[in-house]
Amino acid sequence: MATRQGSRGGAGILAVVLGVTALSLAVTGESAEVMVYSARAHYGQEPAMEAFTKKTGIAVKSFGGESGPLFERLKAEGDKTPADVLITVDAGNLWNAARAGLLGRVDSPEIQANIPAHLRDPESRWVGLTVRARTIMYNTSKVKPEELSTYEALGDPRWKGRLCLRSSTHIYNQSLLATMIKRYGEAKTESIVKGWVANSPILIQGDTKVLEAVAAGQCDVALTNTYYLGRILAKDATFPVAPFWANQQTTGTHVNISGAGVTTHARNRAEAIKLIEFLTSPEAQQMFADANFEYPANPQAAVNPLMAKWGKFKQDDTNVAAAGEFQAAATKLADRAGYR
């Protein structure tokens, strides 16, 4: 039988236990969040992030900005940064952040199983979330696919005055050239680029604008990322441009990524890893790919039906880190070759 005193003591203990539980709940409630610095802007991300929050109860906060300045902010904040995860487009940006010591190593068997080796950092500091293929685009009423084969072959004189390119200064082209340098060496890459330049390409800023120029007949072939075409086709199914998968008989089509890494000074490291593991899962991958017509980095995930029509293609399996390693070399090479 409990004495009066005993019940009072019990109530006290209960109160303490409740208090501690409430407190720890409050604390976990506070820390159950991830802060993401994202250079991938907003598009298409909310569904995957919301699904993560729904599944785990971990809130995702996001802070968007341009990759160059965002890198500077992360670096300047140092060990006081509130950022747990960095998401950027282009492997070069992730490579650069890793080189500066801003991203920490994450050994997650789940991530390694989800994403093929050439789409993640050999030292496990970042990983690809979506695949962005940059390939040949052609006007379907003026060019037969049989006339096309490789990136190199766009230097063939038959394309003189018929080629549109985005300016070399854009990071997507720099990454394309950087990967080529890794694959073929500087000399051969330079001769390929000089071949393009000899065809007096029409330079247009913006992949969407390049595709519009191909459709309008200003040129007949071009190089762009495929999701720009996906976006246009989703609105206008009669748009007269189709992709041709370059270099299928040889090295494969050039791919880049948008990807993520966990920051070195992440306060919510466990949650951050959980987020990236989720984002590489087939479930989230499909949301990513669907939202922007990009290819999922995880081969298990289904591609958007609109893109399924373009068929399967062989990716260049050069590790995308080359985009960073040879970025500066690519910029200089373009300058030397007269590709502006």
């Binding site: 802007a41 598009y43 341009e66 300045p69 500077e72 902010r73 006081k80 992949d207 910029t331």
Partner: protein, 551 residues
């Protein structure tokens, strides 16, 4: 009304010089920190980027930049000055509306005009499409992505600076001097060239200098037109070679250009000073135009207005309608609007207060120290936004890392970062970037007040501060208001510094636009962009109403 070069303003309030000089130097010291952070990069040796640039393109970049400056300077002078002269000195159909309509393009961000312009005039655009449909597949317009295209485009974006300042200057000249010239047997044309233009020179030069500094700092337009300048190279080196240091060093070269521009501006302004008497003379009697002259005048104004305002805003409206029809819900802009306006308002207030203090210090004591201080403080306007932003970020982060740990120990709890990513840091960046706009405008107004008024105030026993408050400020009200509105609208449109330095979860309209245009989703960006233009129009319209009633 204004009669020839006035006597220099001599130091009149001997008790105050150290105070006002100290104030000017103090203001500049704070504003120069980010600029110093940029210049200090020169002390760090950087790799072979310079060698590469020198070998492949540095001379070309400098040449192209100078060409661009010359083109934009001439373009804005002719268009801005010409239109101001038309609307002040002439009467023609539609003048009443056009006079203020021509100011409206101020509210449209350059990136929006540039995008609409290219979209309309490029090969795959609707204009050339129609042309090919009617005249056959060979028909085409001159390439829009060219030197001429960039100059026309930037002239359309930046002419309002010259127009605004020149319009006020022409109007304040009054009729007396032109009539005197006419009485002495000079034709209207000669009177214009020999009297009207020289007397408006300070305003014209100030406006052109602003336009040229904008052109120097611009990245968005030159990038989308594929025109290579130093600023374009800064971004190429920074984003393309991951070499922020070399990029910052290139930005220091840009500062040399800016210093050159400011010196040129001072030089051409410094020798001649024209003041207005406190008593306003007769207002200019405008020439009534008729026939083809009237048509030409109306046509010129309508043409510029259509290209610089109707075209881009029409394009935005079209996209916005398409986006809303496609079921895209316009997000709730209330919070964004409020933040955008709060930031722009705070910046306008701070920048214009500092501008008045600096300009007045210069008036009281035209010493080398004060002049150099004012110019140093203006340099930020010629730097690309992202470079200024990093220049602000680095000192703030440094201060945070130096101060916060001891504060945390004292308070016993973690504080995180206090200055980095604070609204105050962002306002500092805006002020560094846009002080020149306020300073130029205020300085021109202040320069028109005859020194005899300072003397009178002094004789009557007023101290320097109270003379500023009771004599000068009321007289420069119009110029000050112009300055406030210009800084406000510029701040609203600013993108790169806002992106980098804003506090978490603190998005503005410009950030909202970026989040869509970064991946070239222009249609989706139309609704926030249109909102930005609409909000920018309010202060511009206010300015028009207030400055018109003064005429």
């Amino acid at each position: 009304m204004a009669i020839g070069p006035a006597a220099r303003v001599l130091p009149r309030w001997p008790a105050g010089p150290s105070l006002w000089t100290g104030l000017a130097v103090g203001i500049t010291a704070v504003l120069a920190v980010p600029i110093a952070a940029v210049v200090s990069s020169l002390a760090v040796p950087s790799g072979d980027v310079w060698l590469h640039l020198w070998r492949t393109q540095l001379l070309e970049l400098v040449g192209q930049t100078l060409l661009l400056l010359a083109g934009v300077g001439a373009g804005t002078l002719v268009v801005g000055g010409g239109l101001a002269w038309l609307v002040v000195h002439h009467r023609f159909p539609g003048r009443g509306v056009l006079e203020w309509a021509l100011i409206l393009p101020l509210a449209v961000p350059a990136y929006v005009i540039g995008f609409a312009f290219i979209g309309l005039f490029e090969y795959s655009g609707p204009l050339q499409g129609e042309l090919r449909r009617w005249l056959g597949p060979g028909a085409r317009l001159p390439e829009i992505r060219s030197y001429a295209g960039v100059v026309v485009m930037m002239t359309l974006v930046f002419y309002p600076y010259v127009y605004l300042l020149a319009r006020v200057a022409f109007r304040e000249q009054g009729a007396a001097s032109v009539e005197t010239a006419r009485m002495l047997g000079r034709s209207r044309g000669v009177a214009f060239l020999r009297i009207t233009v020289p007397m408006a020179r300070p305003a014209l030069v100030a406006g052109v200098a602003l336009a040229m500094m904008e052109a120097l700092a611009d990245f968005g337009t030159v990038a989308s037109f594929g025109y290579r300048t130093l600023t374009e190279a800064i971004y190429r080196v920074w984003y393309g070679m991951f070499d922020r240091l070399a990029a910052t060093q290139l930005a220091s070269v840009l500062l040399l250009f800016a210093a050159g521009l400011l010196l040129l501006e001072r030089h051409s302004r410094g020798r001649a000073r024209f003041t207005q008497s406190a008593r306003r003379g007769a207002v200019v009697e405008p020439v009534r135009l008729a026939g083809w002259r009237a048509g030409g005048a109306t046509g010129a104004c309508v043409g510029v207005f259509a290209l610089a305002f109707l075209l881009p805003v029409g394009q935005l409206a079209w996209w916005a309608i398409t986006a809303i029809r496609a079921g895209q819900v316009a997000p709730d802009f209330t919070a964004l609007l409020w933040r955008t306006c709060a930031l722009a308002g705070a910046t306008a207030a701070v920048a214009c207060l500092l501008a008045v203090l600096l300009a007045y210090a210069g008036r009281l004591h035209g010493t080398a120290t004060v002049r150099v201080a004012a110019q140093l403080a203006s340099m930020g306007y010629a730097l690309p936004g992202a470079v200024i932003a990093v220049g602000v970020l680095l000192p703030l982060a440094w201060a945070d890392h130096a101060l916060v740990p001891s504060l945390e120990r004292a308070l016993g709890r973690p504080l995180g970062l206090l200055l980095t990513g604070s609204a105050a840091g962002l306002v500092l960046a805006y002020v560094v970037r846009f002080l020149a706009v306020g300073l130029q405008t205020v300085d021109v107004s202040l320069g028109k007040i005859p020194p005899s008024l300072d003397d009178a105030a002094r004789v009557l026993g007023a101290r320097a501060g109270s003379a500023l408050r009771r004599v000068h400020l009321p007289l420069i009200r119009g110029g000050l208001l112009t300055a406030v509105v210009l800084v406000f609208v510029e701040t609203m449109k600013e993108m790169p510094a806002t992106l980098l330095l804003r506090p978490f979860g603190f998005n503005t309209l410009a950030v909202e636009i970026w989040e869509r245009t970064a991946e070239s989703m222009w249609q989706e960006a139309a609704v926030p962009a249109l909102t930005l233009v609409a909000v920018g129009l309010l202060p511009v319209v206010l300015l028009i109403r207030l400055t018109s009633s003064r005429g």
